[in-house]
């Protein structure tokens, strides 16, 4: 047997391809020259040629039967097309559901880890502040005007009192003006209408209240002027109010019963005149029996009209310690408001104003001005609300992930089924 090793430039493959006419044209001439000089290659080529000849000599066998497609195969082909379509649909659905499941689980995981701060905003704080219950039992309506005032640039207590005084004066003068033209219908109106006729010089009055009432307040009028909303007209009447209050107070020692008509007027009118430096004792809502006030001067029965400013809230507290010596020695009511109001009795105006502001915030949700306690409570509420929302979202994502996983399993099953049916 001949052997074609590396010493030949022609291989068995070249001879086989040359035999079939498939050798590269550029290699045909060199191979033919080689064959002229190589006996082994000529023998190899001969055997390849004979083998091919024997194979080519095999007869073609006749088909034993026809292999045409029967009619049943047509139905099968249509079914196959349906399987193909179903396979494509399930494949796309499986991919989409897999992506959706990954996104849902990722979102749930991020919420669980707290990396998604989706709900942190001031609105939560303000919302929390608005829902805080009113510890003072004072409706929001009563302090609506005070809240509006709280949003304005901060003022001193004196300025606020000056604002309150004109307001009180305006409120009182309205019924007073009406009463002057017609018969008054209530005691408060009667007191007002009767007072101007008996107006006396503040200097003629006696008692500490008189002195306070008549003490000029240099910053009252300038501060009151920018207040607007009707207070400007009332500024000039502040003195009249003080005089009326002094008159009422002067009548107080004469008897308990006689004080009743003027009591309300006195408390309402005198408060704006009092300096903020006075000790602020909350008496609007709290007054105990230890206070040796005339029965008529029941500070719980404050004037019926609604105070419209911070100063009005503060008014009872300012008035109480100066009405009588007993009041100044009265034990302070143990209320949150009292504790807040009695923090700095000797400090200047600002702390009291802050206390008043704090009261407003606590009662009507003036969230724009944040102090220590409201901020802490509001922050707690906002944190709870945030946690609740995140828990809700986590529940939603969990349910969604479960649904997507279930549909994904069904889609995957359909994908496998259609793939199997396609191969059949």
């Amino acid at each position: 047997m001949s052997w074609f090793g590396r010493e030949h430039d022609v291989s068995s493959e070249d001879l086989s391809a040359y035999l079939d006419g498939e050798l590269e044209p550029r290699r045909v001439a060199p191979l033919e020259r080689h064959l002229q000089s190589c006996l082994d290659c000529r023998r190899e080529l001969a055997t390849l040629r004979e083998t091919k000849r024997l194979l080519q000599g095999l007869p073609q066998r006749a088909v034993p039967r026809s292999f045409v497609i029967p009619a049943s195969a047509v139905v099968q082909r249509r079914q196959n097309r349906l399987w193909d379509t179903g396979f494509v649909v399930f494949r796309g659905a499986t991919l989409a559901l897999s992506l959706a499941l990954v996104l849902t689980l990722s979102g749930n995981a991020l919420l669980s880890s707290g990396r998604l701060g989706l709900f942190g905003s001031k609105s939560a704080v303000s919302d929390a502040a608005t829902v805080q219950p009113d510890p003072l039992g004072v409706t929001q309506d009563r302090f609506a005007g005070a809240a509006a005032a709280a949003e304005e640039p901060p003022r001193t207590v004196a300025a606020q009192q000056a604002q309150a005084a004109p307001r009180a004066m305006a409120a009182e003068q309205a019924p007073a003006a009406a009463a002057s033209d017609q018969v008054p219908e209530d005691e408060g109106a009667d007191a007002l209408t009767s007072q101007p006729a008996r107006k006396v010089s503040p200097a003629d009055q006696q008692g500490p209240l008189t002195a306070l009432v008549t003490e000029p307040r240099p910053d009252a009028q300038p501060a009151a002027e920018p207040a607007g909303d009707g207070m400007g007209a009332g500024v000039g009447g502040a003195g009249n109010t003080a005089a009326l209050g002094a008159m009422a107070l002067a009548a107080a020692p004469e008897g308990e019963g006689t004080l009743a008509p003027g009591a309300e007027v006195m408390t309402a009118a005198l408060a704006p005149e009092m300096g903020a430096g006075e000790q602020a004792e909350p008496l609007a809502a709290e007054s105990t029996g230890d206070v040796s006030l005339p029965e008529a001067l029941n500070l719980e029965e404050l004037p019926t009209r609604v105070p419209t400013s911070t100063a009005e809230v503060q008014r009872p507290a300012v008035v109480a310690p100066t009405l009588t010596p007993q009041l100044s020695e009265a034990p302070k009511p143990p209320t949150a408001q009292a504790a807040a109001a009695v923090i700095e009795p000797k400090e200047p105006v600002e702390p009291a104003a802050e206390i008043a502001d704090r009261e407003l915030i606590e009662t009507d949700g003036g969230g724009q001005i944040g102090e220590a306690e409201p901020d802490a409570v509001a922050a707690t509420i906002s944190t709870d609300a945030l946690a609740d929302r995140m828990a809700m979202w986590r529940r939603h994502l969990g349910v969604t992930a479960s649904l997507v996983a279930g549909v994904l399993l069904m889609s995957a099953a359909g994908l496998l089924w259609t793939a199997h049916m396609r191969r059949r």
């Binding site: 023998r43 194979l55 034993p64």
Partner: protein, 200 residues
Amino acid sequence: MDEAAVITSAQQGDVDAYNQLVIAYQQLAYNVAYRVLGDEERAMDATQDAFLRGYRAIDSFNGGSFKAWILRITTNACYDMLRAAKRRRTTSIDDLIADDEHSGMLEDDQETPEEYVQRLDLSEVIQRALASLPDDQRTVVILSDIQGLNYAEIAEATLVSLGTVKSRLSRARAKMREFLSAHRELLPDGARLYSESIES
């Protein structure tokens, strides 16, 4: 027959058009299946399966040689059958008895080797030579030397490169030559000259 138009009609669902293609290529497909499998029954099954597969996959034909396309489906059907037969052969001794390659030897214990050889014809000898080849070499030499396909058509039918076709065909012919040389007594008288020319 305008083969391109018939193929288009078949792709549109015309089964009669496809059957025209079946009639045109069924003998080619059957003979390839027969030479690859070495058995008429299995060849028929493989051929029928191939044309059914072709009908279901006619939409995937994107031009080129339809002959190469249908032969690819046929050889794949044959390979599937060979793999199934090998799995059965390793598990069942009955398959050995029914094996065509050895059935002739076991028919009569009294037959001499000379008588056995006389029963054989050239086709059977060549078929036995082909059976000794690996499946991929056998397929290439059948498509080339029995069915007359060129290297490009063989490459398209078997999904291999031209170089692979060339090497497989070279090795297949070499093994065929070795088998025939070792069993030259089985060759007919016309082939003996071939044996004598090699030794000279």
